[in-house]
């Protein structure tokens, strides 16, 4: 294998030039993980192409050599989707960062995959537009990564996910061809299935995104409740009233404590839960609905409501919420950020069960979540200097996912499956479901070289006759793959 990689390195150097190929072990190791540091693998080779043609050539070279490859943008993913292969090539799109076109009359922009999410908005804002998907890493995550992960964000309750904002993608297919997938293509929606496929169906090289009109008005309030249950009631009441806020975020007492310690956001004292509700849109509609939301929060038992009077006050309200993850360091040496989804109406019930789990296990769990769409981000706290603490935390973290599935939810709302949660997929999907998904993969990537080992717990041999699998998978039987 070492020889194969050396040959590939030489070939890539001829293709891209020495400045775009990294083969030195010390440098390679800096690419060993993305935003999820618990999974690490130093790549066999890193390449930094600048054109689709270069990526196509690299992919063809990998195909000919039978070497797996993984695409990476800014390396901020939280599920290990860009975890490299020690025996493979990491294709980094960070140098493909040109905004190619801003087309306001047609409300779209075309960008290269390494363009940073927020830079699209920065480029569109002078025209009164923005790129709606706003994952909390938007200041650094790449649009290519957003496409791979179908990224969400605080505002996807109203505006949807990346998939709703991608109009076309130019991709390099695993057979090294450049193809354009468009929403306007007749036939099955290949673009739709490509977005969110976590880099397993090809590599995006050019993306046309929808631009959204900046809202006329944005209004934000913070409501404090003495219990999280009352906060949940307020969320239900708002949705039941037919209001779809741009965002509804909730934090529990423990996460408020951490945020206060980190950024002194000054949330109301004694709050068991705070709710951040943001409405945007035409002036009159927002005014009308904002009054409704204020009333509903009060009726649900909010003991204090703060309305942001200007951008500074809005920033202050968001500061606590936005700092919540990083702030956990203030109250715990280590923590796991979980990402699960439940039907919004099960919020109270599931939070109660998480609380019980926490008490039984002695593992503290802080809750920060996108309450509007039931996307929980439980933060499972542990002290990594205590032997066994991490394992206990992981058990609790896994049990929370079980709760989500049990209540008809999902094991991931926005972070993706990646390398981290492939083992949980069978809790949510049957073998047949997974097999069917992998048939798509076989259609795109029969050799299984494109980001292998992600999303699915066991690879599917693409030549295999579709149908019910009898006995263990051949790869499992041979000890080459593992179910968990």
């Amino acid at each position: 294998m070492a020889d194969t990689l050396r040959d590939l390195a030489e070939r890539c150097t001829r293709l891209l030039g020495p400045e775009s190929v990294i083969s030195d072990p010390v440098r390679l190791r800096t690419y060993e993980c993305d935003g999820l540091t618990s999974h690490r693998a130093s790549p066999g080779l890193v390449v930094l192409p600048e054109t689709a043609e270069q990526i196509a050539a690299i992919v063809r070279a990998c195909g000919e050599a039978g070497v797996p490859y993984v695409a990476r943008g800014s390396g901020t993913g939280l599920s290990g989707g860009a975890l490299p292969r020690t025996d493979g090539v990491l294709i980094v799109t960070a140098r493909m960062r040109r905004i190619l076109d801003i087309d306001i009359p047609n409300q779209r922009a075309t960008v290269e995959p390494g363009v940073i999410n927020l830079d699209v908005t920065r480029a569109a804002r002078p025209h009164g537009y923005y790129f709606a998907p706003d994952p909390s890493s938007q200041q650094i995550c790449s649009v290519g990564g957003n496409v791979a992960e179908n990224s969400g964000g605080a505002h996807c309750l109203k505006y949807g996910f990346t998939a709703h904002h991608i109009l076309a993608c130019e991709i390099v297919t695993p057979d090294g061809e450049i193809a354009e997938l468009s929403r306007d293509d007749p036939g099955f929606d290949l673009l739709g299935v490509f977005v969110g496929s976590e880099g397993t169906l090809g590599i995006t090289t050019k993306i046309t995104v929808r631009l959204t009109r900046l809202p006329e008005t944005v209004r934000t309030l913070l409501a404090a409740f003495d219990t999280i249950g009352k906060g949940g009631d307020a969320v239900s009441a708002i949705i039941a009233a037919g209001v779809v806020p741009a965002a509804i975020e909730m934090m529990d007492a423990l996460s408020i404590e951490a945020a206060e310690a980190a950024v002194a956001c000054g949330y109301p004292e004694g709050a068991g839960a705070v709710l951040v509700v943001e409405l945007d849109g035409p002036d009159a509609t927002v005014e009308h609905q904002f009054a409704q939301v204020e009333r509903l929060c009060r009726e649900a038992g909010a003991f204090e409501i703060r309305v942001a009077a200007d951008d500074t006050e809005r920033a202050l309200i968001w500061k606590g919420r936005k700092s919540a993850f990083a702030a956990m360091g203030r109250i715990s040496p280590a923590y796991i950020v979980q990402d699960g989804v439940i039907p919004r109406t099960s919020l109270g019930e599931v939070l109660g069960r998480i609380d019980a789990l926490s008490r039984e296990s002695g593992v503290r769990v802080a809750n920060v979540f996108h309450a509007g769409d039931g996307n929980l981000h439980p933060l499972v706290l542990f002290d990594d200097s205590v032997p066994g603490a991490q394992e206990r935390a992981e058990t609790v973290s896994g049990a929370i996912l079980d709760l989500c599935v049990e209540h008809g939810g999902s094991i991931t709302g926005e972070h993706g499956v990646g390398a981290d949660k492939a083992r949980y997929m069978p809790r949510m999907f049957s073998d047949d479901d997974l097999d069917t998904m992998q048939m798509v993969r076989c259609g795109f990537d029969p050799a299984g070289l494109c980001n292998p080992g992600k999303v699915f717990p066991t690879p599917r041999l693409c030549g295999e006759v579709p149908g019910v699998r009898k006995g263990p998978h051949p790869l499992v039987a041979e000890g080459k793959a593992d179910l968990f």
Binding site: A179, A284, R344, D435, P466
Partner: protein
Amino acid sequence: MLPLDAFAKVCADVRPGEDADQVDGLTPPVVAAPATLDEASAVMRTAAEHGLAVVPSGTGSKLGYGRPVERCDVLVTTRNLDGIIKHSPGDLTLHVEAGLTFEALRETEADGWGQHLALRPPENGTIGGAIATDVAGPGRLLHGSARDLLIGITTVRADGTIARAGGKVVKNVAGYDLGKLYTGSLGTLGLIVDATFRMHPAARAVRVAVVTDDPGRAVQAVLHSQVVPRAIEIDRPAGSDETTVAVEAETETPDETSARLHELLGGTPAPEPDWWNRLPEGEVLAEIRSLPARLPEIIKAVKDLPLRGSAGAGRLYTTPDYTTPDGVEELREALKPIGARVVLVRAPLAVRKSVDVWGPLPTLPIMRRVKDQFDPDHRLSPGRFAEGV
């Protein structure tokens, strides 16, 4: 054993096909109407065992889409799978069987749900049909089509395997989004059995129409305004210099919004359009897919044809009166410089047999390979889509 008997063993509602069941002039020997997921799976498995070609169908309203099918041994209709499985108002989700008709859904919604599925196909049909043909109605501008509202799907593959993807929650990125793959699949990948959708509150809305000689400007004015239009539709009779532009917007202040829209649109106020969300009448119906800013060029390029549809979303319909199969190609040629695509939606059998329904399909190689995985024997709606799919 006769196939009919084999089907009757696994499905209660099975009968021989009649003339009325004809698909593209072919009378299916078997018509199966499974009432449960298990029956649907068994029907598909039985067809597989006998190597029979299957055409999935709902009410049959869209069986004329695409190219004519080459074989139709079994017509599998979802008309017995027509229930609402669960409406969860608090979660803004709706789980329905694929055979539910929009007519039935609208009736139920009107019964105080205060929410609606933001899909309004122009003709009645089933949920499954709307997914398979990717029809949406004027709301496509704001809410997209089935693929944008679908959050979970259950299908039966060609071999009878039941496959689910997505889930019951709005936010979910676990696994491939097969719901999107089935959108626009025209019955070539599997049988859609049930689907879960994201719902939207039934907001107050206004509709405003004007007649103008500058629809391009009017559409752009609304598109870039703060009104947040749900739909921008146009209607331009053949040869006319005047176009009616109609806009629908959700609002809490209808009078104010109407006034604002009139200000933006200019032109002369027109009465409530009776053509709203109605396909133009004609034997041949073609869809023009393009960018919204190209509207003036399209209007000019097809001056002699009627034009109607979602100008804001870049989907327009026209009804060319073809006497020769070359007509579609002529239309394509005329629109090529504008970058617009032409897809034939509806046409007499003879026309569909002889013309290229789809136009260029750059991703056909990938579609073929996906098709080969899902339906290796090419038994699902064979011939309906492009060559090899």
